[in-house]
């Protein structure tokens, strides 16, 4: 059973809850395989996506998930809303709640914004990525994808490569993978690895080769160009040379059934070589497809129950 009304991060979820969400998502996959992808489960409910940062896959994935379950959706983009007139985050939330929103999906550049929202509104809130904190639905869909490909999660060796410091995806995945019994290694340029990560149970490396050795899963993070401008990286070429994931490195250091994951959008030729991105062992499209099923499961679980998720 899901013990909470909001999905704010994987840090506070129990392995049993994560398992339950993944099992529910597996059932949702069957609906996605039908010729007519529509079930009436959430008829008459309204899901509001409130995104203060740009997004293609997360937002469209949530909206598609809501529509397949027959919920109505409203999507608010601050640049075309009253936010530009100076309306506060709090007032925006209360306005949308007064219109009858039954669940909020929130992405915000500030860590903790969804937590703040969950204290303002009386309906469930799902964090769709907040600052450098967490991106729990990405973490859950990665677990769902990996469980389907490998048949298990516990005992897997996962190596997360790239900008750990600024990545909310990395944070959710460190929690998710370790809670489900996988061991996690982190590797990237020392300027992009924060201190104190060992407390999560993950091992930290600064050279790629020892971190890749024997890995069952290589999770590649996107390198953001802004990092270079702020002086944390000398050049993208140097990053590619030292940390880029190439077929040669995988062949030399990882088992034949290695799986490569990436949260997207990919910078081909930077953190991941085009050959790896298009290879059969790279499950990026499976991740995207599973994202819809996973988000259907969360919407259904949070809006069901005795009180429809309301306080």
């Amino acid at each position: 059973m899901l013990q909470r009304r909001h999905i704010l991060g994987l840090e506070e979820m129990t392995p049993e809850e994560i398992q339950f969400v993944l099992d529910t998502a597996d059932s949702m996959k069957e609906i996605l395989s039908r010729p007519i992808k529509k079930v009436p489960a959430l008829r008459g409910r309204t899901v509001c996506t409130l995104f203060y940062e740009p997004s293609t896959r997360t937002r469209s994935s949530f909206e598609l998930a809501a529509k397949i379950l027959s919920a109505d959706t409203i999507s608010i983009t601050p640049s075309t809303s009253s936010v530009v007139k100076g309306e506060s985050f709090r007032d925006t939330l209360l306005t949308l709640q007064a219109m009858g929103t039954d669940l909020f999906v929130i992405r915000h550049q500030c860590s903790g914004a969804p937590l703040f929202a969950s204290k303002i509104v009386s309906v469930p809130v799902i964090n769709a990525g907040d600052g450098m904190h967490e991106h729990p639905t990405q973490g859950l869909l990665d677990l769902l994808t990996l469980r389907a490909v490998k048949g298990r999660l516990s005992g897997l060796k996962v190596t997360i490569v790239g900008d750990i410091a600024h990545s909310r995806v990395a944070r959710s995945n460190i929690w998710g993978f370790t809670k489900m019994g996988a061991s996690v290694r982190l590797v990237g340029p020392p300027t992009l690895i924060p201190l104190g990560l060992e407390a999560t149970g993950a091992k930290v490396y600064d050279r790629l080769e020892p971190a890749l050795e024997g890995a069952d899963v290589v999770y590649v993070l996107r390198i953001q160009r802004e990092r270079m401008e702020s002086g944390l990286l000398p050049s993208l070429r140097e990053y590619t040379r030292l940390y880029g994931i190439t077929p040669e490195r995988l062949a030399k250091l990882t088992p034949a059934d290695v799986v490569v994951m990436h949260p997207g959008p990919m910078n081909r030729g930077v953190e991941i070589s085009p050959e790896v991105a298009d290879a059969g062992y790279c499950v990026v499209t499976e991740q995207v497809a599973n994202g819809v099923a996973l988000r259907m499961a969360l919407l259904y679980l949070l809006l069901g129950g005795a009180d429809g998720g309301k306080e």
Binding site: D26, I36, V39, G305, A306
Partner: protein
């Protein structure tokens, strides 16, 4: 402890299922385009038993599917949702579908199941087989095949136990304690 009474034992259930299997063949004039769909949870083993018997009687293989109706319920607001998986390994278009459930009560489950099947395609016919009809229907839906009519009070609970899931075959009526 609530008071319990046994309404059907293993042999009675076996005979009822066997009779229903014959009735399905008779009413459908054979097994052409026939398929059974069990409603999760206990409709599924019953559908499998019926399919096996019909297969033996007619020398054929009858396709069986499993239907989860969580997404079609009209009482999402009152239940903790647990979702199972729908597995229909055949195309329902133009098939003669027999839905199978263990207890027929208000008819709401069957309403939801019919909606769920219609979303998968357009069957030629949908029929309904149940092990127990306990009365109190709330919708204009009636089963085509009934193992046993069991008059009950609304306060009573009818529990079907099946070997595949519960280790024994039995139908039990639970009466609430007198206050």
């Amino acid at each position: 402890m609530a008071h319990e009474a046994r309404a059907m034992d293993e042999n009675e259930i076996r005979r009822a299922v066997t009779r229903i299997a014959h009735e399905i063949i008779e009413k459908n004039k054979g097994v052409e385009r026939l398929a059974l769909i069990g409603i999760r949870t206990r409709g599924v083993p019953l559908a499998e038993r019926l399919a096996k018997l019909i297969g033996q009687f007619e020398g054929c293989v009858v396709p069986v599917g499993a239907l989860d109706i969580s997404m079609y319920r009209d009482d999402l607001h009152t239940r903790q949702p647990v979702v199972g998986t729908t597995e229909i390994p055949f195309d329902v278009n133009d098939m003669r579908i027999v839905l199978v459930d263990e207890v027929f009560y208000t008819g709401r489950t069957i309403r939801a199941a019919m909606d769920a099947v219609m979303d998968l395609g357009r069957p030629a016919v949908i029929q309904l087989a149940v092990l127990v009809d306990r009365g109190h229907r709330e919708l204009p839906i009636r089963p085509d095949y009934v193992g046993k009519n069991l008059p009950t009070a609304r306060s009573e609970e009818v529990v079907v136990r099946l070997k595949e899931l519960d280790g024994e075959d039995a139908v039990i009526i639970r009466k609430p304690n007198r206050v």
